[in-house]
Structure formats: C-alpha cells, structure tokens
Symmetry: C2
C-alpha cells in the first residue's frame, strides 16, 4: 500500500519506519521538500521510503497519517490540500497539546470539541479516524513490548475507514479485540482528554505504559 | 471514626453504607435536615447512621466526603461551612459534569482547572484529596468485583491527608499498590478529564469497568 506520513518528528519516523518494514511504500511529508529529518529518514529506510512536501505525501498516499504536532496539524493539512485527501482514510494520531503551556501541558481544544473533529470539519471529504494518540510512539508500533491485554481506541464516522485502520493496527501487533471502537469522530474527545491523565503518569511510570480495560465477569 | 458524607444520591448512599458496615459513625448531609432519602438511608442503616444538614454532617465528621453532584458541590460546601471543614481531610469524589449537557455530558471545568482545585481554593483550610471519581459507585466500595490489578488515582497537596485516604480506601478493598498518587491537587485534572473517556466506554462495556496500568517490564 502507498502511505503518506505527514510529520518528520519522532512519531512520524516511528510510524513511517514501521510501515516500510511491513512492506508499504511510504512518503514522509514536511513543510518543504528536502527537509533534513525527512531526507535522513528516507535515505536510511531503503527503496520503499521517500520524502516530499505535505502535498506530495498526501497525494502519494492511498492512506494518509497525520503525525504532525497537534497545534500544527490543521495548517499542515491545509498545505497538504483537500484534493489530496479527498475520499482517503486520514489516520489522526496527534494530540491537542498547547505549545508553551509548560508541564503538564494544557490542551488547546477539549471537552466541547476535539482536534479530530476540527480536522474532519475542515476536510469533510476525508475519512478521519482517530487512534494511537493514547500511547507513546514505541508502544504504537510495538505493543508487545508491554504485557497484558492493553488497549487502543478508535473513533470515526466512516465504518469502512475504521476497519481499514484496524487492519493496519493489526499488522502493527494490535489484536482486533484490543482496539475499542468508541463510535463517531466526536468520541475522540475521550481519548484526547485521556492525555491529561497519561501525561501525569509519565513522570511516575515513564512513557512505556498503557491501560488494560478490566470488566466485571458477567 | 466519625465521617460526614455530603450528598444523598446513589454515590453518597453507597459510600455511607460501606463506611457504616466498616464500623464508622456516619452522618449523611443534605441541604435540609430530614431529607427523605437521607432519613430512609439512616433508618435502614443501623445505630451508627444518622442524617442532618450539610453543616451538621461536616461538623460531625473527623473526615468529610464530598459525594454531591459536581455542579452543586461548591454550593453544598459553602452551606457546610468553612469552619466545619477547617483542618479536616475532605475527600472529593465528584465529577464536574455539566448539568443538561446531554449524553455524553460535557465537563463544566477541565484542562486549565478542576473541580478539586476549585474546592481547595474555596476552602484553603480543608485538606482536599481527590479520588474514587474514576469508577462507578459499586466498584468504589467493592473493587474485588472486577478482576485484575485495576487502579485508583490520588491527588492532593497534603501528604498526610492522602495517607489517611489511602488507609480508608484500603479498608474498602483497594490495595495500597493500586492507589496511584499523581501529586498535588492540580493533578486531579487528569482523573477528572478521564471521565470523558470513561463515559464513552459506558454504553459499550457498562458501568462496572476500570483500568489496569500496564508497564514495560524493566
């Protein structure tokens, strides 16, 4: 599959690297073609890896991943272009962290709205799916590194898009029964607000954590 | 121990009942003495149970529990009176659910502030501890009903107050190693915002759920 990964940071690099290792053709996108981090990644990741602008990356991908910083996501996607996103699954893994808000950071949107909803409203012809934002990059692409039946969440208005993302997450090592579908894209408010809890566990337990859902035996 | 439980709803009744069963003297508080739900509870709960106004309950308790609805908590505590709370541990279990915000509900405070912080600011001489708000009332008082090492969170500025609350939670069945101290009272923003995720799991998995923290083996 051809996949566009928007973002050259650690999350983008982890996802892009995993996707190439799984046999996908991946184009990493950044604000300007020839971005040093993107060039360095592409040259080290083999023949299936390439880089370009956000528009190059989104146009290339049959599926597009938003791995930009949350505060920069809408601007990055505008540069990527609505035409390059039309009809495509857009997997949004970003968190709505307000820049310069210290530690623990604040969110720039929550409660009555979410970043995922902002993206879906701005790009109504993209099929936005929110997932992976509740775990660290190394857990994203290697869930087996943590013991137990820890979970991911999935939000999106398009069921087929969620099925496609579930399949991709399955190839990362996330079993289908541990990917919890919360409903439409507005349900992303839940996992996005969970960041406020995750970020407060970070100094105590480190980044390589996740939660397992425990239920009363019926 | 003498404990004041503010609130006559299902959470207040569950906590008050558990506390009486553990041998504590419990006075349930409501807006007006002789509240029907409080009277009914007290008459059915034995000699260690009584009821009165918020002020009666707070004055009675060596430890006070805020089990009122989050939107009504500050008003209830004002009626209870700062003098009746001075120096006491005030365990806040409420969630900041905005009334009439539909389902899933919105929070009336989050992200840059929390209900627990609002309470601590309004009653600087009380020793506010936030806990228990991340689980349903039946899980609060009977954690063994759910399998696994699922956790609670603890936030508060006063370490001794948190130790006292941990002991009380231990008597409910919560082992100390499953009560995660997140830090000062501002850390309550995390567990309070987790409600947005919990409430979206509710229709799917029911109320008798909780999360276990999973960590990479070191």
């Amino acid at each position: 599959m051809r996949i566009g990964v928007l973002g050259t940071g650690r999350v983008g690099q982890a996802l892009a690297g995993k996707l190439v290792s799984l046999g996908h053709d991946v184009k990493m996108g950044s604000r300007t073609a020839g971005n040093e981090k993107a060039k360095s990644w592409a040259s080290g990741a083999g023949a299936k890896a390439s880089e370009g602008t956000f528009a190059d990356s989104a146009g290339f991908g049959e599926l597009v991943i938003n791995a930009t910083g949350g505060h920069a996501s809408l601007a990055a996607l505008q540069i990527a272009g609505a035409d390059n996103l039309r009809g495509k699954v857009l997997l949004d893994v970003a968190n709505a962290i307000a820049p310069d808000s210290g530690f623990p950071p604040e969110l720039f949107v929550c409660n009555t709205d979410s970043l995922a909803e902002q993206i879906q409203r701005a790009f109504p012809d993209a099929r936005v799916v929110k997932s992976l934002n509740t775990v660290n990059l190394s857990v994203m692409v290697d869930p087996g590194t943590i013991p137990g039946d820890h979970v991911l969440f999935l939000s999106g208005d398009d069921q087929d898009a969620k099925t496609q993302v579930s399949g991709l997450l399955g190839s990362f090592g996330w079993p289908a029964e541990r990917i919890l579908d919360l409903g439409g894209i507005a349900s992303a408010r839940g996992p996005e607000m969970y960041l406020a809890l995750w970020i407060r566990m970070l100094p105590i337990f480190g980044p390589n954590i996740n939660i397992e859902l425990r239920r009363r035996a019926s």
